[in-house]
């Protein structure tokens, strides 16, 4: 299925959760923030948040800034 991951159409497997998506893409779990369809998802809910076709997922992190 396709989701919109950080603004890009991305193909993911159909039974993916936020946790499994992060692991399969080598995203460092401890360093990222997740917004799922516009709502912030706390880390303890990543393992049981299943993604559906067309979902919008933002994976964010802190970078240097002034």
């Amino acid at each position: 299925m396709r989701i919109i991951l950080n603004g890009k159409q991305t193909e993911v497997s159909s039974d993916v959760t936020i946790s499994t998506l992060l692991k399969s893409n080598d995203f460092p779990e401890e360093a990222v923030l997740i917004e799922h369809n516009g709502a912030i998802v706390p880390q303890e809910e990543w393992a049981n948040t299943e993604l559906r076709t067309g979902d919008k997922l933002e994976i964010l992190h802190f970078v240097g800034g002034g």
């Binding site: 080598d26 995203f27 923030l33 992190h61 802190f62 240097g64 002034g66």
Partner: protein
Amino acid sequence: MYDPLIIGGRELKSRFFVGTGKFSSNQLIPQVIKASGAQVVTVALRRVDPDYPQENILNYVPVDTILMPNTSGARNADEAIRIARLARASGCGEWIKIEVIADNRYLLPDNFETLKATEVLAQEGFVVLPYMNPDLMAAKQMEAAGAAAVMPLGAPIGSNRGLRTKELIRILIAEIDLPIIVDAGLGRPSEAAEAMEMGAAAVLVNTALATAGDPLQMAEAFGLAVQAGRQGYLAAPGIVHTTGQASSPLTDFLRE
């Protein structure tokens, strides 16, 4: 000398805030923070790019530092509010620098949208520090909206042009009952000292450090300048005259 700056219930010994953008290497960041003496440090929030993995900047910021995420990238109040809520959800604290910019050439802030975001976020319990054009009426509105401090620009972001808005900042210092933190544009330590001598509560510097030949030495120089300027302000400078005023007692015996 005991002269703390209190913002959001936190007592700060250092009046020098630093940004973490544009350094040639993340390894420099902890050294710059140490050399500057800063206790408040800004960071930004961005999408993770799997093709260009970046290290977590927070690994380079000492744990006792107060993090002040900015809302850079926001073009209106709603986007700034969204970034602020995300940043707070990360557990890095309540402080937020509101930065709303829709002008890509001069990177000047939108005071109206900044005010709207300040109002909402202050009500949600954030410690809100709006980055703004130094406009007195807007600063009064930020104060009424619950800002913890206001951060007028000295010159456009990243320009190293110095304290170009001096006269307007002087008015904010005189009229606004909040800490005035000069943010953006300062390029040299003397400019930071000048802002502090005028009565600014603190200054925030990033580009001047990141683009200096020796960022660590520049961080230390700015830290000293901020302290010097602050002490000069507290010491209350003497009256300015247009003519010479003798410093030595007049020697009348030569003429008698």
